[in-house]
């Protein structure tokens, strides 16, 4: 699954630690999501989208290999 968390974070001028604090996870979790090492839960995806005032679809996108 591709994501634009890093881009959204840059647009909103958040550090990984700040985003982590807002969605109540560790900074390492945000790092793992951004680097594609971890496919997050729906709840966390919704929380991240809410923080960036956008939709989950706008941030997360399925790849061929996910099917």
């Amino acid at each position: 699954m591709k994501n634009t968390v890093k881009v959204e974070r840059a647009k909103n001028d958040f550090t990984q630690a700040q985003l982590a604090e807002k969605v109540k996870v560790s900074r390492q979790t945000i790092n793992a999501i951004e680097s594609g090492d971890y496919n997050l839960s729906t709840v966390l995806a919704l929380k991240i989208a809410a923080v960036f005032h956008t939709t989950v679809d706008a941030i997360f996108e399925l790849e061929e290999k996910d099917w």
Binding site: T15, K24, Q28, N31, A32, I33, E34, L40, L44
Partner: protein
């Protein structure tokens, strides 16, 4: 996950586990059990002899040197506290790493045990059985904490 101990217990666990491991290894190397009369206590034993031998007894008191039991419980307490205390932020990714590490430790322990079954014999295998009492939890602790350390070093990009 609700079934984890509070985060503060992890530090207490390390204070218990590290000296316990040194004492445990010392006990194995020195075979101190028989030399120490201080720990020769009467204990309640459900079973103490091989099952169905002549004069086999269930649930009775015996005289036993409890030093090895005390050391084993000491190590076990340390292992459980370190292995199953929450991290400061115990989120879904940490939980995934925790469960992955537990699975990895189980596979690794089975592999190590199979290796020892094939290549270790006689009294040396007694050591393998003693160490294997704690090996699964120790493998888990090493793998999980190594992974956490690696994650913490993964800097912001």
């Amino acid at each position: 996950m609700k079934n984890l101990l509070p985060h503060a217990f992890k530090k207490i666990g390390w204070f218990i586990l590290i000296p316990a491991l040194f004492v445990g290894v010392g006990w194995l190397l020195l075979d101190a059990d028989d030399n120490n009369k201080l720990f020769n206590w009467p204990v309640f034993a459900l079973v103490s002899d091989p099952l169905f031998e002549e004069n086999w007894q269930f649930a009775h008191f015996i005289q036993n040197n409890v030093l090895d039991e005390l050391i084993a419980l000491w190590i076990l307490a340390g292992c459980v506290l370190v292995a199953f205390s929450r991290e400061a932020v115990e989120d879904e990714y940490i939980m995934k790493v925790r469960l992955d590490s537990l699975l990895w430790a189980t596979y690794f322990n089975c592999g190590a045990l199979a290796f020892c079954i094939l290549f270790v014999y006689d009294m040396a295998f007694y050591w393998v059985m003693i160490i294997n009492l704690f090996a699964l939890l120790l493998f888990f602790i090493v793998r999980f904490n190594w992974y956490l350390l690696k994650m913490k070093r993964g800097g912001e990009s």
